[in-house]
Symmetry: C2
Subunit: 192 residues, 2 copies
DNA sequence: GTCTATAACGGGATAGAC
DNA sequence: GTCTATCCCGTTATAGAC
């Protein structure tokens, strides 16, 4: 069962998705979590502590939901799995939106906050590695270097498209098409 | 010569590069620009006005330095020009770093600030269009739609790589290689 | 562990003189 | 156009009871 502290971090993720890291007010967070502000300081020491731990929480959670699949569904082909995994991040559902926004905020905050960098780099590495493995399933003969490069490009492109979408510079369907085309191109490029 | 207002926007770009949009304090900006806080409100109305106009300033400046070429230098081939223009944004010089950080910050802020969106979308459109034209120089037979797609992907990838670089998740040389490879791939893909 | 009440402070914004 | 001085509000953070 979720501890009080965990449910505060879940609430923090929602608040960050609404107003960003900069817009997170401890009082609003308290209201969202249904607790007093004092309790937040009790569990997290200060506002920075809330952010640090919530961002860690978010990157862990993102790792999890990308891997999950429906129970009775037919097992997808490697190619389908790759495409689904990446396109999953470009969807206008509450959960994805929340995670994408929070992830973008985390990324942006790390530019100025050294303490976030290591954790972020680690989460990025894991994600890129996961995509590289999926690409390897599609193109078993491709070299590890080529797979790693393609994975790094596809995930970086996804982050770029996602931010454009969320900031209102690119309609979602177009973002999805662009990503799908890039997947095609990278897979073609890895062909024997 | 630079007006007072312009020099305040230059100072704002520096402060944003140091502490982010989130960390921009009007008082610090005033100190950086060597003026009083009241003067800032006189010229920009409020803090948001500073951000809005600085964003415009930054995107204009980026357009300029991207387009500039050395005087006596031999005119580059279309292919060289394309590559140089894009790779220019991945360099560890003060000016580029400052612009990239500020651009990333404004992009991230626009997710929560409606007032920045239109200007940002406009600047993005101009930039994508410029790259599409350079691609058209390399592949004159390619369709406008194909050129626009490739340009959108390359610039979005560049933003993604840039943010990874600035947030410490990707070494600069690697980011440059990845982008160069993507340019190769897109140009190949547009081949007749 | 959790609350209510409040202290303490940072920073955006303005008044008014020059 | 530009400054000095200051107001004032929103937020962070803590004290102390339960």
């Amino acid at each position: 069962m979720a501890s009080r502290k965990t449910s505060i971090m879940e609430a923090a993720a929602r608040v960050i998705a609404r107003h960003g890291v900069r817009g997170l007010r401890v009082e609003e967070l308290a209201a969202e979590a249904g607790v007093s502000t004092a309790l937040i300081y009790y569990h997290f020491k200060d506002r920075t502590g809330v952010l640090r731990q919530t961002l860690e929480f978010i990157s862990d959670r993102a790792e999890r939901y990308t891997t999950e699949r429906a129970e009775g569904a037919p097992p997808p082909t490697p190619r389908e799995e790759l495409e689904q995994t990446l396109l999953l991040e470009l969807q206008d559902t509450t959960e994805v939106r929340e995670n994408s926004i929070a992830w973008g905020e985390l990324r942006a905050s790390a530019v100025f906050d050294e303490t976030l960098r290591e954790e972020l780099a680690r989460a990025t590495r894991i994600w890129v590695q996961e995509i590289a493995e999926l690409l390897g399933g599609v193109r078993p003969m491709a070299s590890a270097v080529a797979l790693a490069g393609a994975a790094e490009r596809l995930t970086a492109l996804l982050e770029g498209l996602s931010t454009r979408w969320l900031s209102g510079s690119l309609p979602l369907p177009q973002a999805r098409t662009l990503l799908a085309d890039a997947i095609d191109a990278e897979v073609d490029r890895l062909a024997p």
